[in-house]
């Protein structure tokens, strides 16, 4: 039997400590009187929340952690028994079930109730309903930050003004009211400078996958790399330190021509380089990863690791224009891109990262990602001539993760790549 415990890099340990400290802070809010803001990952305003000394809680992260801890099936069941449809997003149901079961966080301590719900619903309509559901459970204010979608494939001046004006006129005054702290423009600039430093290093890490062998896995490993950036730590010295450490580790692997670290240690041989679209499954995360690692398949680029920003395509927070840059950030996340933009981005990854092919992991829960993915599949095959594969699972509902089916599909897919290679060389 393979690795009962996964090997961890030092940077992963660092991240683990950061997360543990964060949850420890959350557990102590009664003593520290820090305010708690629930909000969502895509287009989050982490720097702003931290600016006011408040602590973010991200319900999607609660849900995915519940999935990884084997709790989500129970939580989903609680929500469905309470009347939530089997058809809808399992992140929502996991969160609702977790709440009903005592809202126990990953450290075993209850999560504090929110003092504010920040509904910044970038790229996902379900967020809107999710917080309408949550506010029925909590007696706290809700701030809606409407982030327009890039329907025509661009961010117009009107869209930018709309979002930055909402941040200025709605979000900041409410943050000031709840936290009792005044907004400080200069301090915000300093926070954003830290964001940029971490963003530069994250991009360097993601781009390291252009090397052969790739020193990272940009999906299974990538979800750890984006963790501090996409969650509670962007704009902090901790995040800067984490990404410095991560970059050094990846540089070390590059120098030694080592592949990524997998659940069973460093990958030995890179046989397939893949680009992947869609989020991973969390309930069988390691088992899923092993299906790739065992075959020598490494993910060199992924769309999921861009749900919190397309830094690799040039976006950086601009410390000289805090409100404008936050607006650009909110609107620039992957799930806020239209279909032609998403397709072009994936096409770019396939070419830039010299991928042998691309896969779509279509998750039942996420219409924002999934609706229409089969068109992306066809279009990418047409544009790149490289084989596409399609697998189906879910985020946190274990009923929708069929290991045997996925393994069969992956094996067939790898055979298809081999057949193409043989065809190309014969």
């Amino acid at each position: 039997m393979k690795g009962a415990t996964a090997e961890k890099d030092a940077s992963m340990q660092k991240q683990k400590e950061m997360i543990a400290n964060h949850f420890s802070e959350l557990a102590r809010v009664k003593e520290t009187r820090k305010k708690v803001v629930y909000t969502f990952v895509p287009g989050n305003l982490t720097e702003l929340i931290n600016h006011f000394g408040m602590l973010p809680v991200l319900p999607e992260i609660n849900a995915l952690q519940s999935g990884m801890r084997g709790k989500s099936a129970e939580y989903i069941s609680i929500a469905e028994k309470a009347g939530h449809s089997e058809d809808v997003c399992t992140y929502v149901k996991t969160d609702i079930g977790m709440l009903r079961a005592g809202n126990i966080g990953p450290t075993g301590e209850p999560l504090p109730k929110p003092d504010l719900l920040l509904l910044s619903y970038t790229g996902c309509f379900t967020f809107l309903k999710w917080f309408e559901l949550l506010r029925e459970e909590y007696d706290c204010p809700v701030v809606m930050l409407h982030v327009p979608y890039q329907g025509d494939g661009e961010i117009t001046q009107e869209m930018r003004e709309y979002v930055s004006n909402q941040i200025r006129d709605v979000v900041i005054p409410e943050f000031e009211r709840v936290s009792g702290v005044r907004y400080d423009h200069d301090r915000m600039k300093e926070q954003l400078k830290l964001s940029v430093r971490a963003e530069d290093d994250l991009v360097w890490v993601l781009n390291s996958a252009r090397a052969r062998p790739s020193p990272i896995d940009a999906w299974f490993g990538g979800v750890y790399y984006i963790g501090p950036m996409f969650t509670s730590f962007r704009g902090t010295q901790d995040a800067v330190d984490y990404y410095t450490m991560l970059r050094e580790e990846v540089q070390d692997r590059l120098d030694q021509k080592l592949g990524p670290v997998t659940p069973d240690g460093p990958m030995r041989e890179e046989k397939y380089r893949l680009v992947i679209e869609g989020p991973p499954n969390w309930t069988s995360f390691r088992e899923f990863w092993r299906m790739f690692a065992d075959e020598g398949a490494v993910i060199v680029a992924s769309s999921y690791t861009k749900v919190g920003g397309l830094y690799d395509r040039g976006f950086r927070h601009n410390p000289d224009d805090p409100l404008g840059t936050m607006a650009d950030y909110c609107m620039g996340c992957y799930t806020n891109l239209n279909f032609p933009q998403r397709t072009a981005l994936l096409e770019g990854y396939i070419n830039d990262f010299s991928a042998d092919g691309f896969l779509i992991n279509s998750v039942k829960s996420c219409n924002s990602f999934s609706a229409g993915q089969l068109l992306i599949l066809r279009e990418l095959e047409k544009r790149t001539g490289r084989p596409g594969g399609f697998i189906e699972s879910d985020l946190v509902d274990p009923r929708y993760f069929s290991a045997a089916n996925i393994k069969n599909r992956l094996e067939s897919y790898f055979q298809m790549i081999e057949a193409r290679r043989k065809g190309a060389t014969s």
Binding site: A82, G83, H84, S85, D87, V88, C89, V92, L119, Y121, C124, F125, T126, L128, K129, W130, E132, L133, R135, E136, M144, H146, P148, Y149, G151, D152, T156, E158, M159, E161, Y162, N165, Q166, D169, V170, N338, F339, P340, Q341, R342, T343, S362, K364, C366, N367, S368, S370, A371, G372, Q373, L374, L375, E379, E392
Partner: protein, 396 residues
């Protein structure tokens, strides 16, 4: 039956047949015919729930509601674009679009309602590259200076784009005239809604529904006349009153129920006195000001005078109270939640609305459907049992 009554019944039948023929017109022949009657005429298709049709009208184009293929389209290509867990509407829309059956439309508007319709807008951009395709980002911030300002910029962008297609500039005066035309339509629809609320036996659900759908194919002026004529005739038709309960229906605002399902509800003993079918046809509840700034009027209409919808953020937190009040105002004995399978907005909304009903001691039942549902026996039994229970133990 007297001659007068027989004549009235004939006229009503003719109206509902006309409406049904428009409903069945999946090739949009009526739209093609309308376009052929004038030079440079254009048609703009739109998806549920709501787009400001006044803008399209003011640009001299015909707004055409695209509500899917119901149970009248065999899905071949549509299924190859969507996974099993995506609702049915986009399958039939794609089927019709790639099969050339929407060619009468020169452009398409996709309002911000859910992730599926949103993604469908991009799919149309890729699949129909020669067509005008626009995603209509309706504001979720209802402050005039914020959401209102943004929405007006959206309205003007649409007006410019559609005006470019027709060669007609959307001036303030043209837009005011369009607001007035749609105000008349709103008045007519309110007459229809109130007639059904007060005397549901005079306005069978199927007729009512087909009349709403006709408004998504006809020029607004023709539709207004049609509705007015129907209401007047229905009042004289002497249709018999049945021993039915009165129900409100919720959940059917996007993917539409097949006609068989509507017939089934009535056959099961339920008068539908309030619903959210074809919700965009009457989304703005009150007449819009035609004397001031028409862009403001349209924006204010959406932001402050539109019906609640699962896709619209409930900023004032009055969802529960508004729903209960509406059910009571319409004197519904109970509520039927019927949402399309895999409809995230409707199904996520449902537990909140059910809670509101429980707190108000209003009975409800719930089931799911798909636009191509063909078997209604289970639904008939469920709705019938609900009706019987209310008659026996409720206030019906």
């Amino acid at each position: 039956m007297s001659t007068a009554l027989a004549e009235t019944s004939e006229k009503l039948l003719a109206l509902s047949r006309r409406a049904e023929s428009l409903y069945d017109d999946l090739d949009l022949k009526a739209v093609t015919e309308w376009k052929s009657r004038g030079k440079n005429r254009r048609a703009i298709g739109f998806l549920p729930i709501y787009v400001p049709r006044e803008i399209i009208h003011a640009a001299g184009a015909l707004p055409v509601g695209l509500m899917g293929g119901a149970d009248r389209v065999e899905i071949v290509r549509g299924d190859s674009y969507f996974q099993s867990y995506i609702c049915h509407l986009p399958r039939s829309v794609i089927e019709l679009a790639v099969g050339g059956r929407m060619d009468a439309c020169d452009g398409f508007l996709f309002p911000s309602i859910c992730d599926v319709i949103r993604n469908l807008s991009g799919m149309f951009k890729m699949l129909l590259p020669g067509k005008y395709v626009h995603y209509v980002d309706l504001p979720q911030n209802f402050d005039t200076a914020l959401g209102g300002r943004f929405y007006i910029s959206e309205l003007k962008l649409m007006a410019r784009d559609i005006g470019n297609l027709t060669g007609v500039e959307v001036t303030d005066d043209r837009l005011r005239a369009s607001l007035a035309a749609y105000n008349e339509n709103r008045v007519a629809l309110r007459r229809l809604l109130h007639a059904r609320r007060d005397r549901p036996w005079e306005v069978p659900t199927l007729d009512y529904y087909l009349l709403l759908r006709a408004g998504y194919m006809l020029p607004v002026e023709e539709h207004t006349a049609m509705v007015n004529e129907y209401v007047e005739l229905a009042a004289q038709a002497g249709r018999p009153r049945m021993d039915n309960i009165r129900v409100a229906v919720r959940g059917a605002f996007c993917e539409q129920p097949p006609l068989g399902l509507l017939r089934t509800l009535e056959r099961a003993g339920c008068y539908v006195v309030d619903d959210d079918f074809v919700l965009g046809s009457r989304f703005i509840e009150q007449d819009l000001d035609v004397h001031g700034d028409p862009w403001d009027a349209l924006a204010q209409g959406f932001m402050h005078h539109s019906l609640p919808a699962a896709s619209k953020y409930d900023q004032r937190r009055t969802k529960h109270a508004d729903f209960v009040k509406r059910v009571r105002d319409y004197r519904a004995d109970g509520v039927i939640f019927m949402a399309p399978s895999f409809c995230d907005p409707a199904l996520l909304e449902q537990p909140m609305l059910q809670k509101a009903l429980e707190d108000a001691d209003i009975p409800f039942t719930a089931f799911k459907y798909s636009e191509d549902t063909g078997q209604f026996q289970v639904i008939r039994e469920q709705a019938g049992t609900f009706a019987d229970a209310l008659k026996l133990w409720g206030n019906a």
